[in-house]
């Protein structure tokens, strides 16, 4: 636990001591803001739906970019040797890294609360329950993509490669339920269950179902375990 905290703190300091984190956050806020205000004025909508449709799309690029350096850079610079010659478990190392990146994602998500405040000031009826579950869903999707990014950062020492692999896996998860018409009916159920969007839209509709939560937790767990596997393999090569 203390090791996780040590890694987490170090990682967050690294993010926020460099301009990179701020640049990411500004881009994230601006892109979301642009799409939000556009649809807001065009359709005169008074809910957060437009925003909640945009954020998962922005995530696709934003999250692999935030996570690409997590492990790949330590491998590239060699600092992973410092960590792996100290009494620290791979699981602790990975969890600390994952949580730090996830924190940055949550901060990014936090910038979109500005739009909620705008809506409140405009003073239309807001379904606060749906907003709350919508944000929960967005946090979950963010965590899933962060776990994917952590994994892809562990299979290479090249950050660009880590980004591309991360983007690819995340795209597959994102597009799955949009491809349902192309798959045989027998497979459709499974593909739908695996798709992130299916579970996200369930949650953001205002229903918190444990099946959706279990899905998110399993995918996150799967990718973090795969990351641990990658780190373990290195020692035996």
């Amino acid at each position: 636990m203390r090791n996780i905290l040590a890694i987490y703190t170090k990682e967050l300091k690294t993010y926020f001591n460099a301009p990179m984190a701020y640049i990411f956050l500004v881009i994230f806020a601006v892109v979301n803001g642009y799409f939000f205000t556009n649809t807001f004025f065009l359709f005169n909508q008074s809910n957060m739906r437009a925003l909640f449709n945009i954020i998962p799309l922005v995530y696709l690029f934003f999250i692999p970019a935030v996570t690409m350096s997590l492990i790949a850079r330590e491998k590239n610079v060699g600092t992973i040797e410092i960590v792996h010659t100290m009494p620290i478990k791979d699981g602790e190392f990975i969890t600390g890294k994952f949580l730090a990146a996830f924190t940055l994602i949550l901060v990014g998500l936090g910038t979109t609360l500005l739009h909620l405040i705008t809506l409140m000031n405009v003073g239309m009826n807001i379904d606060y329950g749906a907003v709350l579950t919508g944000y929960l869903g967005l946090a979950m999707v963010g965590a899933v993509y962060t776990s994917v990014g952590t994994f892809s950062s562990s299979i290479t020492d090249n950050q660009v490669v880590a980004f591309i692999i991360g983007l690819f896996i995340v795209l597959v998860f994102f597009l799955m339920d949009k491809m349902l018409i192309f798959v045989p009916a027998s497979m459709a159920g499974i593909i739908q269950y695996l798709s992130v969007d299916y579970h996200f839209s369930n949650i953001s509709r205002g229903v918190i179902d444990s099946r959706n939560l279990i899905y998110f937790a399993s995918v996150i767990g799967f990718f973090l375990l795969m990351t641990a596997r990658m780190l373990e393999i290195r020692k035996w090569r």
């Binding site: 203390r2 040590a6 170090k10 690294t14 100290m86 009494p87 478990k89 020692k235």
Partner: protein, 315 residues
């Protein structure tokens, strides 16, 4: 104590370490010597738990590396050869991070920090970014990282390579001091760098141990040639040829002609057959006037070189 038993480590087809055995005792400073690519770093990486052995065993204080790697890591301080550091971090934050993982926090951290700042001479750079420090300071930061938990065992992979002579002297002094109470293992590919510091030397060549002992033991056990320099006047070509012809056991390696038959001869002969009296007699008979005759001490350097030259061992 570190006990390495039949340790092998292969990287795919590359056999970096081939079934080596050696022991390092508590309170001993061991020099782990070998040319580049001999397998030093690989061996150290296995001892630190960074790499798993292909076969064989390593015991650190009687704990097996495969079963107790974290327990072992708690007792080891390690300075990696390339000394990787988080360049974007402040020295203070970095050492604090290391200390946290070593479970040294709060007041204990402050105390440990003061100790390593003093031992490693870091006082000028504590609040500097690591990336902005010079190579010498980075090396000290690496050392401080290895020492912050005051470990019983220090493994230093080429700790002085690339430093300037003054820095080398300082680090040597520090290692000597630390070696009084700790087990220290230093690797190097340059004998002179460690000869004066270490109690014992293990030489590794192409993944195999080719020598193990104190410098005295290595020198007395070595079968090799002794060299002798002979400076004399009135050494004409004719008498020199006669000398070579009548003394087949002596190899004339080189002659330097000064002037008027004043020459310096570099001779070589098997260590156990000292031909100096013979040479003296010959010189008197041929009218040579000897001004200097000095055999060279067998140097550890020669032993190291001949043990590790291409093609294999001499011993």
């Amino acid at each position: 104590m570190i006990k390495v038993e039949k340790l092998s480590k292969y990287y795919g087809d590359v056999k970096a370490v081939k079934s080596i055995d050696f022991t390092v005792n508590d309170g001993e400073i061991l020099g782990f010597l070998g040319a580049n690519g001999a397998g030093k770093t690989t061996t150290l990486k296995v001892i630190t738990g960074y790499l798993m052995p292909t076969s064989g065993n390593v015991y650190v204080n009687d704990m097996n590396i495969l079963e107790h790697s974290h327990e072992i890591q708690k007792q080891i301080g390690y300075l990696a050869e390339l000394n990787p550091l988080y360049n974007e971090m402040i020295v203070y934050d970095f050492l604090e991070f290391i200390a946290k993982i070593r479970r040294i926090e709060g007041a204990a951290y402050k105390k440990a920090l003061v100790r390593v700042i003093d031992q490693c001479g870091l006082s000028g750079v504590v609040h500097r970014q690591i990336g902005a420090c010079s190579k010498g300071y980075k090396q000290r930061i690496g050392l401080a990282t290895a020492m912050i938990h005051d470990p019983a065992i220090l493994l230093l992979d080429e700790p002085v390579t690339g430093l300037d002579p003054n820095q080398i002297v300082e680090i040597r002094e520090l290692i000597k001091e630390l070696g009084k109470e700790k087990l220290v293992m230093i690797s190097s590919h340059i004998l002179q760098e460690i000869q004066a510091t270490v109690d014992r030397i293990v030489i590794i060549h192409k993944g195999e141990i080719v020598a193990d002992g104190t410098s005295q033991e290595l020198m007395s056990g070595f079968v090799g040639n002794t060299q002798l320099t002979l400076e004399a006047h009135k050494v004409n070509d004719e008498s020199l040829q006669t000398f070579a012809a009548t003394h087949p056991a002596i190899n004339v390696v080189k002659t330097e002609d000064l002037k008027n038959d004043h020459r310096i001869l570099h001779l070589e002969y098997a260590k156990e057959k000292d031909p100096r009296t013979e040479i003296f007699k010959f010189a008197v008979d041929s009218g040579w006037v000897i001004t200097e005759m000095s055999p060279h001490q067998i140097e550890l350097e020669n032993i190291f070189r001949s043990l590790t030259k291409e093609g294999g061992s001499n011993a």
